[in-house]
């Protein structure tokens, strides 16, 4: 393994960016391909498929055998609102393999008794995000119903290109939200990325059922997320 490849790969992984270490098994040489890099031909297709699925493996391209070791950052879910739905969504999302965090400045809601075993930040989203911003492998579900809390998180999530952005509220509530966010300067294309009303339509009624609907929508967004649209391509 080329020491430069190792350093580059580790730097990408530590920055929570997707990367693939491609090893040519005929000559033993390797290189790191970052998500968003253009790679031509059959190898490029295999790399793109690997980045989507997260699966590593041997591939044959142009008569040469390659090993693709795919490194995806673990997906993270940040829930805005320490509410009833969040109490069901948090353990479900953890079981599905997400790192979960909750942000809610209302200390009456954000208590460890209500949310054991999960990082709970009783602060305003904008204060948390200043220190620890979202990244594209983060899903953001805004569940407070309170624009003062939800909106700053939604703006940041859309500007960051989070792979999922969802917001609780009826169509009427969402229409008002769109007005506010448009006034805040967000484009129509960006606003169209918000999943609202939140969750896959399964007729969910209880908080736990809504949590199932939301988690299903997050998983679908993660597995089908667009590639190369949020990062500038750079040569491998």
């Amino acid at each position: 393994m080329d020491p430069h490849s190792l350093k580059k790969l580790n730097a990408e992984r530590e920055a929570r960016r997707a990367a693939v270490l491609v090893t040519n098994l005929d000559d033993g040489r390797d290189r790191v391909i970052c998500e968003g890099d253009e790679v031509a031909g059959a190898l490029g297709q295999a790399v793109a498929a690997g980045l989507r699925s997260g699966r590593s493996g041997l591939v044959e391209a142009d008569g040469t055998q390659f090993f693709l070791n795919v490194h995806l950052p673990p997906p993270r879910l940040v829930v805005i609102g320490a509410v009833h739905i969040s109490q069901a969504l948090t353990p479900m999302a953890k079981i599905a393999g997400f790192d979960v965090e909750i942000i809610d400045p209302r200390t009456a809601f954000a208590t460890p008794e209500r949310f054991p075993d999960v990082p709970l930040l009783a602060e305003w989203p904008q204060d948390v995000l200043e220190k620890h911003p979202f990244d594209p492998y983060t899903a953001v579900a805004a569940l407070t119903h309170d624009p003062k809390i939800d909106d700053p998180a939604l703006v940041s999530a859309l500007q960051t290109g989070c792979f999922y952005v969802g917001a609780l509220g009826s169509r009427k509530t969402h229409a008002k939200r769109l007005d506010r966010l448009t006034a805040a300067g967000l484009s129509e294309d960006m606003l169209a990325r918000i999943h609202a009303p939140i969750g896959v339509d399964i007729g969910a009624a209880s908080p736990a059922e809504i949590a199932v609907a939301v988690l299903a929508e997050i998983i679908a967004a993660f597995r089908r997320r667009g590639l190369a649209d949020k990062r500038e391509g750079k040569a491998a």
């Binding site: 393994m1 790969l9 992984r13 590593s56 041997l58 965090e101 930040l121 220190k131």
Partner: protein, 112 residues
């Protein structure tokens, strides 16, 4: 976010390999490249080895690590990468095998 230690520098084999390299050590990297049946570690898993036989990470549940470390010594000497295959029914060169019944291919190469 707040608690994000993205990678665990005490357990992540590729971070350990980089740290060893910075300390001036020669390092071999072993990678699971293919599995059949019930292999304990997924494709892409790493074991990293230094010249003194120290190792971190895993390519199996502990069944074949010893053999991989031994082979890594030759790879560190020669600089030539090699592909190893382990399996319970494998009667070829390898005496060790996977008791779980799976088979794995492990690529061993030198860093640098």
């Amino acid at each position: 976010m707040m608690h994000v230690a993205n990678l665990d520098e005490n357990r992540d084999p590729l971070l350990i390999a980089e740290a060893w390299m910075k300390d001036g050590k020669d390092v071999a990297v072993a990678t699971v490249m293919e599995t059949w049946g019930s292999a304990p570690r997924p494709v892409g898993s790493h074991l990293v080895i230094d010249t003194e036989g120290n190792f971190e990470g895993s390519v199996s549940g502990g069944c074949v690590e010893g053999a991989v470390v031994a082979e890594a010594m030759d790879v560190l000497d020669s600089g030539k990468a090699t592909m190893l295959e382990f399996g319970v029914a494998d009667e070829t060169a390898w005496e060790v095998g996977l008791s779980c019944g799976g088979r794995i291919k492990v690529y061993v190469e030198r860093l640098g």
